[in-house]
Symmetry: C2
Subunit: 434 residues, 2 copies
């Protein structure tokens, strides 16, 4: 009988929204978890900072001494504290004393992932982290395992719900960034201090994790080029709509191949226009979705809820079952694979495309001046739309792919042209060929 087997003893670090849900499900469905794991799963301790804030947690489980808990009589540590410290020290202590780990801590993994993986490897234990990216969406396991026999060329995702909510609202109602941010705050989609979301820190941490898995290369959050959405104007959104495109904050991880065949990884977070026909364009509100292009598999998309207590608990519990089963079966999950060790490319030399919207004087020779500026910077033009409005004219240019630094210099040079009255909008273009 499964019930008679030695239980897998679980320590829970942190008991907020996600932890409460994890604890509830483990305690309400012991038979299901035992059947899926091959042994009973028993929570033996819950470490919190303020015990009186957790009246629903049985008193005998609660402790404020997280270090004693992870180094004590447990097999598996679930970390839901978040942030760098004390999470990092706790997990290193757990791994070094032979405990397997399940964590949802993207910031920690994006910065200290290799230290944690090395500690897990030395002790021969598991570290699983599906919940760290895109909440409930099974994404890391597919990248790490299902596509292990393929070659991934590109991962492009909407992995931050707050910014997606804001951009969706701006697109739907024509509101400004500040108005949409305020609304998101009122509805609980944005935190009191929204910096981590709107400035792209959250998306960059996730991009680092995705790039590491997809390209078998160590990529940290500081390797990721990061631009947030605070600079996205109602004009940018309108310009996108005029070209049948949507503006999304994208986490992009790409295998870039030089002319001489040298491979590198580009990892970046920035707002970009994508065609309305792209599967990611229809991902609105707080939903997340990740688009993957692999050599053999072709195009794949994963879609679902990226945050929230229940969805994140689902991902944590899926990992918990996998790790617990490995403990019962004396198996081991996949370890860190950084064998490819590709260099990380700078943003300046990363090939991108720009959409540029200008107010120019409506007189002969303007287009030729603008066009020759592109030409001087070796940037080739894909689409031009000029519309006269009497004294001035609106000029929209979409480029072909060129190094990002060349595109930036082009924009700077164009802004200095006397015939250019205003650079209305500059936005990268993704999700279409050439």
């Amino acid at each position: 009988m499964i019930e008679d087997r030695e239980p897998v003893r679980v320590a829970l670090l942190g008991c907020g929204t996600v932890g409460t849900e994890v604890l509830r499900l483990l305690r309400e469905r012991p038979a299901e978890f035992a059947a899926r794991t091959g042994a009973p799963v028993e929570v033996t301790g819950v470490a919190v900072r303020r015990p009186h804030k957790h009246p629903d947690v049985p008193e005998h489980l609660i402790t404020t001494d997280a270090h004693a808990l992870v180094e004590g009589d447990v097999d598996l540590v679930v970390e839901l504290v978040g942030g760098i410290e004390p999470a990092r020290s706790l997990l290193l202590a757990a791994l070094r004393s032979g405990k397997s780990v399940v964590t949802a801590n993207k910031a920690l993994l994006a910065e200290y992932g290799s230290e944690l993986f090395a500690a897990a490897d030395e002790s021969g234990v598991d570290i699983y982290f599906e919940a760290s990216v895109a909440g409930a969406i099974p994404l890391l396991r597919p990248l790490r395992e299902s596509l292990a026999g393929d070659r991934i060329n590109r991962v492009m995702g909407i992995v931050n719900g707050t910014t997606n909510y804001i951009l969706s609202a701006m697109d739907a109602s024509g509101s400004t960034y500040s108005e949409a941010l305020e609304e998101a705050g009122e509805l609980g989609y944005a935190e009191a201090d929204p910096t981590a979301d709107v400035d792209g820190f959250d998306a960059a941490a996730k991009a680092a994790i995705l790039a590491s898995l997809a390209f078998h290369t160590r990529v940290t959050a500081t390797d990721v080029h990061r631009e947030g959405i605070a600079g996205v104007s109602a004009g940018d959104i309108a310009a996108a709509q005029g070209l049948d495109r949507s503006v999304k904050l994208l986490s992009i991880c790409e295998r870039v191949v030089d002319d001489d065949g040298t491979e590198a990884v580009s990892a970046r977070v920035h707002p970009a226009m994508i065609p309305k026909s792209h599967p990611l364009a229809g991902v609105n509100g707080a939903f997340n979705a990740v688009f993957v292009e692999a050599e053999s598999a072709g195009q794949l998309m994963f879609y679902g809820q990226g945050a929230g207590g229940s969805p994140t608990a689902s991902a944590v519990l899926g990992d918990l079952v996998a790790v617990a089963r490995n403990l019962v079966e004396s198996g081991k999950g996949p370890r860190e694979s950084a064998h490819a060790q590709l260099p990380v490319q700078s943003m300046g030399s990363t090939p991108t495309r720009y959409h540029i919207s200008l107010d120019v004087e409506d007189k002969p020779g303007v287009l030729s001046q603008v066009a020759s500026t592109f030409n001087e910077h070796d940037v080739s033009i894909s689409v031009v739309r000029q519309e006269g409005r009497g004294e001035d004219a609106s000029l929209v240019v979409v480029t072909h792919v060129a190094p990002d630094s060349a595109l930036r210099s082009t924009v700077d040079a164009i802004a200095r042209l006397s015939v250019v009255r205003d650079v209305v909008s500059v936005m990268r273009v993704e999700g279409e060929s050439s």
Copy 2:
């Protein structure tokens, strides 16, 4: 050095489109596979029926004696033969002699899955089968592993590319079923004998596999209620368009809860109308997508290419790396989980919704006669649209959820009403609440 480790010896059964691609990638990228597996991966034999048809396979690898190959000096057998025999005997022989198995054989798994799982369990080896459903889309691993801590309530998917191509073509061009089938054949999207696809056998085998994994219950292809698309008329498609819906052939696996709380599984394949706003409605042509609803995770969708040599090879190789790594690490993947053993519900008692389009006489009292027929069968009406056209009228009814048998009897009774001239279209409705 990984290169110096004992290699994982792989036998390949069958070398068609998928097998050729698997062999090519394994031979062209030995370092990548070694790094991901932890040991070199070596193909030691390829069993085919007609050796002269495979000039690209090195002669020393080719054999026509598949049984000798699987029982010989190999660690892992990849089966890409398809069909029931000899695949079944070969895989049982392989598993019983301690070889792990990777297979893409949906028909075999849907019928003899539990026999194979039992054999794998007895020998303590792995059987993986990601490629058997939805080609390259990582779907079985997420269901089997990522959602192992969740409770799945519904899996609804477009898992057959041929029928989706035909229905998409009918929707786009207004062509009849026969015209669209002919076009699909000419373009290579339908086989010379399209029965397995258009009559829903392929989708039913996949539904059985999905239901088994999602509900921890043994479901075979014969448990799956099956209706194909040959009866879908241009009128059905037009009726769907009139209500802003699309017609799709859906594989549906559902947890059904009776009034008294008893749980059962419904597994069925049939064409149905879904709202154009549903994520599955936009899945066109030969693409596949599967929509999953889980208690904690909420709604998830997986999208990608469901067939073809390269996409299927990607799924096979992902499994191959996982199984090979288990061999190197002395680990073991998840075994069959049928602990819930829920009963399979008959189609008649499964709750569904119908869309019914009628030609009726345009005179007083017709609607009341039709409505009371619904009432007599305890079927409640959600939407009615009547449009007079002189002598006759068009009447569209969408019901609320009712047992399928009650809905069928209602349609039969309505067809017998003297005021009803023609039952133009009857189609189930999925993907919306109530």
